[in-house]
């Protein structure tokens, strides 16, 4: 034990122990944070799903009275906000957090405390947003919040303030995590892992973090302007004072279109791991997969005004954005064809992860094709703001992003929890979801082309909308059954795994480096550095070629996998401060809305947390490390991933 005598006044020692709830709220372990992200996002998914079912109940019959116009507007607004910002984005963050360090052979992310901060800020932001329900004043201006309908005259309640501040808070989480993961990928890859030996999932997450880094500031600006308009009498969006309400649309969609790729690319990454594994072939055209992802990321910045084809922005700009939108279909098409080519000639096993991944390929194809049909600006003047668009983006975000995330759940569940999810229930989950999904959103193509507008709380009989709306509502409840099957699966699988030994290494005969660790991943990740020589390093350690060029097994998974027995790995200490800092933010939010006095405790909490954060000992000598190891001088040489590991010891972490 080393004596510490020079501890500054007011500086807390770092939390001790790694059990119980105290561990969960102070953890800086990327794996636990990943699990927290996933669990929280799934809770929000249930809330957003409930909102979706209410929407479908209201629209099941003409002249519906389940919700009424006012409540309907709030429910559909919160459904969109929840699913985009509190479900798909954090679910992607869950996978990124858990898997990205493992895929690049690192011990943790670059800034573990910042990572914890991202999660807690996201949680408090999400809870803050949903508090709007408790205060009886949920936002009613749509997730797109077009000005001036969101100004004080037209939305006088507190709803749009909850929206602006809630998204502002979750935006902080996204920005912090984007910087963290970019630094992690660029600095902490295992020896030998060049950028072009990184798994496609890691690549897609990297692209997404750059998109977040540049897109989130734009919506931050927009939300601040909205906040100032609403609370401090500014006139950024007030046309009476000469403002142009289209300013909001430009800001929102310059964020909003890259956001679409922020939602979809992680799923593309996931299925780019799943499809090769279950086809038993390497990903087809790896460099093209990577570059098409990067191309989508770049081109995603040049298409935002296709959301504004009918807003009156002028024929020349519409023409330019119409053409740029058409060409973004090219890299997306490249991806779909490469996935098909990966399966071609393979030996496909249809386990649940592969079913979901195939679902993504087919359903996203439909969403992509309908997307092409409204890149034609003249056609879009008929299609925009109808259910045709609702169908399109649900095929992209549900059929593309969410199904991919479910593929990821089934694929990596053993890595995270040490047991497989049940295959039989998994297949129920898949088929219920995909049938329900197509029943719900397939008919919306028809409804939209028949002229059913979006965001209407009801419709009259006589417009031909009755049959397919009822059909879609039935489909939505089948999706609900699919989600129940998943929850049941999680519960039953966990119960039957209790007491049983963990699933062995490599349950899927996988290819990428995260499978070098045993299942579930030990707290220190890797026993020793892995030396990366090729893409699919893990697979190449298991298989080689005989003299006839045939693939033969050269080692068993047990031989290749590490056994997780290392006990001397230095790990970053947990910290109280991320959660304390995050807790201050909603208080500041309430202060801006109700009484500026609330900002005082909120601000004090944030300042105190920053102070504590900066001055807490980099490595608490009294604190226990997960493997009972305290010092960190003599074994620095074996730290994984090089010197960037020391980032946590520097005050910037």
């Amino acid at each position: 034990m080393i004596e510490t005598t020079s501890r500054a006044i007011g500086v807390y020692t770092r939390p001790k122990g790694n059990t119980g709830w105290r561990d969960w709220i102070t953890t800086v372990d990327h794996k636990k944070i990943g699990i927290l992200y996933g669990a929280t996002a799934m809770l929000f998914f249930l809330i957003g799903g409930l909102e979706a079912l209410l929407i479908r109940l209201q629209l099941a019959t003409p002249d519906g009275t389940v919700l009424g116009a006012d409540t309907y507007n709030r429910v559909y607004t919160m459904h969109g906000v929840t699913m985009v910002f509190l479900v798909i984005m954090p679910l992607a963050a869950a996978f990124a957090n858990y898997l990205l360090p493992l895929q690049i052979g690192a011990r943790d992310v670059a800034f573990p405390r910042l990572n914890a901060l991202s999660y807690w800020v996201f949680l408090f932001g999400g809870v803050f947003l949903n508090m709007a329900w408790i205060f009886g004043d949920a936002p009613d201006g749509g997730w797109f919040a077009y000005a001036p309908n969101t100004g004080m005259i037209f939305s006088p309640g507190k709803g749009m303030d909850f929206y602006a501040l809630g998204l502002q808070i979750t935006g902080i989480a996204s920005l912090v995590s984007a910087m963290n993961l970019i630094v992690t990928v660029l600095n902490m890859r295992a020896p030998g892992m060049t950028l072009f030996k990184m798994p496609v999932f890691t690549w897609m997450i990297l692209v997404v973090q750059f998109l977040l880094l540049f897109a989130v500031p734009v919506i931050t600006v927009a939300l601040f302007l909205l906040l100032f308009d609403r609370n401090f009498g500014a006139n950024f969006f007030n046309p009476e004072m000469g403002a142009d309400p289209l300013l909001w649309q430009h800001l929102f969609w310059i964020f909003g279109h890259p956001e679409v790729y922020i939602l979809i690319l992680p799923s593309f990454g996931i299925i780019s791991e799943v499809i090769p594994t279950f086809s038993r072939k390497p990903i087809f055209g790896y460099p093209f997969m990577v570059f098409s992802g990067i191309a989508i990321g770049f081109m995603g910045w040049g298409v935002w005004a296709h959301h504004m084809f009918v807003s009156g922005i002028g024929p020349i700009s519409i023409a330019a954005f119409s053409v740029s939108t058409m060409f973004i279909a090219v890299p997306t098409g490249v991806k779909i064809l490469n996935w098909l080519a990966t399966m071609w000639g393979g030996k496909i096993r249809f386990n649940t992860p592969m079913l979901f991944a195939s679902g993504v390929v087919s359903m996203f194809t439909i969403g992509g094709l309908s997307g092409v049909t409204h890149s034609l600006a003249p056609a879009d003047t008929q299609q925009t703001d109808t259910y045709y668009i609702v169908a399109h983006f649900h095929y992209v975000i549900f059929g593309g992003a969410l199904l991919g995330i479910f593929a990821g759940f089934y694929f990596w569940w053993p890595k995270v929890f040490g047991h497989l999810l049940d295959e039989k229930l998994g297949k129920w989950n898949f088929w219920l979801m995909i049938v329900g999904f197509n029943m719900t959103f397939g008919p919306m193509h028809i409804l939209g082309l028949q002229g059913m507008s979006r965001r209407i709380d009801t419709y009259s009989p006589g417009f031909g909308f009755e049959f397919w709306n009822m059909f879609a509502t039935i489909g939505a409840f089948i999706i609900g059954l699919g989600v129940l099957a998943f929850l049941l699966n999680v519960w039953i699988s966990a119960r039957s795994a209790r007491g049983a030994p963990p699933v062995g290494p490599d349950p899927w005969d996988a290819r990428s480096p995260e499978w070098f660790t045993p299942n579930p991943t030990p707290v220190h990740n890797f026993d020793e550095d892995i030396q990366i020589e090729s893409l699919d390093e893990f697979w190449h350690r298991k298989y080689g070629l005989d003299e006839d060029g045939r693939v033969v097994r050269v080692a068993t998974a047990e031989e290749v996998c590490q056994d997780g027995s290392a006990t001397d790995t230095h790990l970053p200490s947990p910290s109280y401060w991320p959660i304390v800092l995050a807790a201050g933010l909603p208080l500041i939010g309430f202060g801006l809305m109700y009484s500026l006095w609330f900002c005082v405790p909120g601000g004090a909490l944030v300042l105190m947390a920053i102070y504590g954060w900066v001055f807490e000992p980099a490595d608490d000598p009294d604190g226990s490390h997960d493997h009972g190891h305290d010092g960190h001088g003599e074994d620095d040489a074996v730290l994984l991933g090089g010197s960037a590991e020391n980032a946590e010891e520097a005050p910037v972490g």
Binding site: N73, P245, F284, G312, A319, G333, L376, A379, N438, L449
Partner: protein
Amino acid sequence: MRPRRFTALVFGGLAVLTGCASDAPLDTLKPQGPISRAIDDLSDPVFLIAGIVFVIIFGATAVIWWKFRDDHSTDEFPDQVHGHLRAEIGWTVGPAVLMALIAVFTLLTHFDINSEDRDDIVVNLDGERTSWDPQVVVVGQQWWWEFRYYFDGLEGVDLSDPRHLPPADIVTANQLVIPTGSEVGLQVTSRDVIHSFWIPALNGKRDAVPYRVSPWKIEAETPGFYFGQCTEFCGLSHSRMQMQAVAMDPLDFQAWIDEQTQAATEPVGAAAQRGKAIFEGQCARCHVVNGINDGGGADLVSNAAPNLTHFMSRTTYAGGIFDLYEPDGSLNRPQLEAWLRNAPAEKPAYAEGRRGMPAMGLSESQIDDVVAYLQTLGTSPAMEVIAATEVDR
């Protein structure tokens, strides 16, 4: 394979299924005018191409799943193919060329539907022949549409402040009346939030952005009644903000102009006269009846309420959502009385926030009187128009 077969049905059978819905008056795939037909001619082949690509991709997927499924017949690993440069170039360039081709036709149609190709039409105003550049000012507000006709043309008409527009020759609400066979220019704006003007059978939509005037156009070939719906979310009663276009042959259109340019006349009958007094005391705070009060603005956020001078000449009211007439041509009295009794209960509005018609607190006999007065305002439209209004609602 069920979902794939199902989606094949959805996509492949899209045209068939929507075509079957004969009672879909907002159908986007049944153009009734040259502009909407130009859009349809562009999108139909692209729907077809998308359908073909869909069938190819789904067919290929089905083949791949069947052909390359692991049947456990051998332990052998498949060939570890890493890629194929020519294939990659092919499926990058191929779709790019296809998109470029589509882009050419898209741009042609796009600039076509955004160009102006209007001819003046001759109308008779108070016996004087006037050459009118057919343009209508379309003004959206929560939750109804106003249409303003300036027969001297829009040059010199200051549209920069939509809450204080210069007086027009005709001001009407919710039903846009146009002559057939002429392209009619629209100048679309809004008095409060963003709305979107859309008559799918005649053209795509154009947003009504407050304090901005966006040009758009519309053209119908045959006389008829064409439904529309506000398609930009505009708050509480967005779904109840509808409109219709009524296309008339030029002779009927001239007759319509003749009627609409008349101011209201003094009502006959005691009930109607009492109703007029109530109107002047209450309704005239917001509503204009030419000859009774002039357009001095309304006590509302939008500073406007529907002009009622020729109320009876329209077949719908309250944002185009209620039928004014029964199918037999008689007055739909119960609905109109309910509306006068308590408007917010019939159509959600923020009356207390001065957005939408409030409950006027009229007694039953006062309501009868107001209905009697309203019936003197304008003449009923032709039976064909009344019949066409019915969509079995």
